[in-house]
Structure formats: C-alpha cells, structure tokens
Amino acid sequence: MRRTLPLVITMVTGAIMVFRDLFNIPEVAEIVNRYLVMSYTLSTQTAVAIGIMNLFKIHFNRISRKRSDWQFSILLIGSACMMLIMGFLFDLGHNAPVYNWWYQILPVQLGNATFALICFYIASAAYRAFRMRSIEATCLLLSGCLVMLGGVSIGNAMWSGFPEIKVFIMNNLNTAAVRGVTLGITLGSLAQYARNLFGIERGYMAE
C-alpha cells in the first residue's frame, strides 16, 4: 500500500493534467485548476512548515553546542521569527506596509547584493574559459571577443561592422546551437515525465 498509493496518485493526477493541457474542455480545466492546484498549494505550504522546522532545528543545535559562528544562527532565527510574527500581527499580513518595508530593506537588498556578485564571477569564469588551450577554446575566445565588441559602444566606435558580426553570431551560430540543445531537453523532459507517470522511475519515492 505504501508503495502502490503514491504511484496511483502520480499516475491519476498526471493523466488528468495531460488531459487538461491537450483537450480544450473548460469545465475540466476549471475543476483541475480549483482542486488540484489548490491541493498542490496546500501540500507545498505543509512542506514549508516542515522545512522551517528543519532550519530551526539545525540552528538551535548550533547555538546550544556553540559551534563556529553560532551568533549568526541567533540572527537568522531572530529575523525569521520577527518576519513571522509581523505577518501574523498586522491586519494585512504580508501586505502590511511595515512588513513590506522590512522585506524591501533587508531580503530584497541582500538578494540584489548576491546577484551583483555574478559580474565578478563571470569575469573569473570567462578568464578560465577563454584561455587558448585548443582550437575550440580559440574559436570561443574569438567569437566571445567579437560578441563583446559588438555589444558595447566602444566596439561600434572602433568599427561599425562589429554590431553586425555580433548579430550574425547570435542569430545564426548561437541560436542554432541553443535550439539543438532545447530540442533535446524538450524531448528528454517528455520522456522523464512519462517514466515518472508510468512508475518506471520512482526516484521521488526514494526507490
């Protein structure tokens, strides 16, 4: 039963979703959107509660055992509790102005700062990728330089042909390669879903 029930649920719900997407029956779509999507949201929110318990457990352990940087765990638990309490306390919940203000000045800004790190990482990764170790790497270096020169105004000032070369590389060579990869991914993901739907692959059941 423990093994069969999840398989049956997967197959039935999967088949319903496929039916909804293939056939144009508004009544079916409405029922699916109302009940299945709602049950998905409900199960996800339950999982969030389990996840938060895991997070708190790990950090309470760190604090109680005074592991390295345990002070940051206090900060994390304190901030999480503060946002949680504010969400419950104010009438508008997570739409309350005070909640939003805290959200905007802390998580959003910290997220932006982390995102901004990417520009430095692109430079260091590009440095390694663009080293002329082989013919392929040399082609990559040349095409990369041409695309970069075509994308910045100084390139256009140097020679008006750079933007045209960039457009050619991106629209023809790059697009052709990306579409090939995308085609494989689309067909592969269809097979992946089918394997899960038919119960051939049961990784999600820890099998």
Binding site: N24, V178, L183, G184, R195, E201, A206
Partner: protein, 282 residues
Amino acid sequence: MESIGNAIGNVLGPNGLRIFTNQQLGFTSLLFFIFYFAALLYMIDRGRKGLKIPKIRRIAGLDAIDEAVGRATEMGRPVSFSPGISGFVAGTLAAFGIIGHVAKLVAKFDSRLIVCNRMANVYPVTQSIVRQAYLEAGKPDAYRDEDVRFLTEDQFGYAAGVVGIIHREGVAAQMLIGNFYAESLIFAEAGNIAGAIQVSGTDAPAQIPFFIAACDYCMIGEEIYAASAYLTQDRVRIGTLVVQDWSKQIVVALIILGTLTASYAALVGAPSHFVRDILRLW
C-alpha cells in the same frame, strides 16, 4: 496548391481540428504525442520481455561522480549536492535519481553528504532519498538529519546559503544537478574557489555555458535525464531513451524537409509550403 491544413479544416467544419487548449497545441502535437507514448510503451514492453535494447553511450559527467566522491573521501571533506532551484520539474526529478546514487557511494565510503534544498516541497523527498540510500548501504546510523537542509525559498538567499556552506564546510566535491537559473555561476565559482571537484548538469540552456566554463564535468541538457537509466542500467529505462532518440530523428528530418520546402516555396514565390501545412493541421 491549396493548403492541406485548410482542406482538412474545411471538411471538419468551422472549428476544424481545433480541439486543443490555451497552449495552442496543434493536431500535429496530438499525433506526435500519440506516437511518442505508443513507442514508449513498445520499448517498455521490449525491455520487460528481455528483447534487444541498444546500449547507452558513456556519459563522462556521470562516470565522474565516483571519482568526485572518492576524492572527497580521501581528503576527509564533505560532498555537497544541490538539486536545482525548481520544484518538481523534469530536472529535479532527474536529480533525484542521482542523489540516491551519490548518497549510497558516500555511505559506502564513510564520507559525508550535504544536500541543500531551495524548494520546501523538494526537501522531504531528498531527505527520504538520502535516508533510504544510507539504509540500503547498510549504514543507517551514519545518516545525519541535519545534512539534508532546507535553506530558503528566496533565490539569492538560497545562493548565499549554499556559498556559505561550501566555504564553511570546505567541501571537496560539489554536484550541481537540476534546474538552475542565475545562481548557477555563483555556486560553480564558489566551488572552484574552495578547490572542489565539480560535476554539474542542467536542463536550463542559458546556464549550460556557465557550468561548462566553471565546472570540471558538465552534463549538457538531456544527459541528466539519462542519469537514472545509465546508473541503474535498467533495460526498461534505457528503452525510453531510445524513443527519445527516435523522436529527435523525426524532428530533425522535419526541420530538413521544412528548410528545403520553404526554400523551394520562396524560390517559386508560393505563399505556403507543404511541411508548414502539415504542421499546421489544427
């Protein structure tokens, strides 16, 4: 030449074959879908009956997993695994098959595996996969609940958390397999700075170049979907990969045929061409 799509549409009435939904899937899509699933069932049947199934080619990224775990064991440092940042999409489902394999290896070698989850609904699944793998390896006591972690559902909060773990725990091997977005390069470069051997694979086309540039081994796109078939050598699963290849051949043939007929149509000044008409049957 009257378009074939219009001709069939006229026969079937004003709605023609438009039995499809908001996603604008055409009749051709249904035909393809039927072919795909029929072929899939045929190959599953062949696999189960023990009939001949083609062999699967070597995938360097999957072979490198053993090497990466071995290296981490020798160095006495942990292995980290990220199943991507999406929910139950194909990439994450593929990652589930790989986590189990990595966890079994880690348990066998008495090493340590840290799995960082972004999606709360993925976390209980990875937790049970890792626990089961330790159990199957005969080392249930070695499993530590706190090594499979839920960090946050915020994308860059998760990225910052993973980078912190990579540096604090000093991971010797990092596996990044699943569906990634902008954080892919942050993880890969952090792993590189920590000196970890990195095996990556993603089905997000925009992130593949980052992984290729920054990781030691990279599985490109659909290779991650072949992981469970490759690792288990299960005949039925390999059979489904064959269907994937057949479909790809059909699509490539249609692309070539479409290019030729479109070029011919352009050459003679015809408003339509045969392949487009066929594909537009809805």
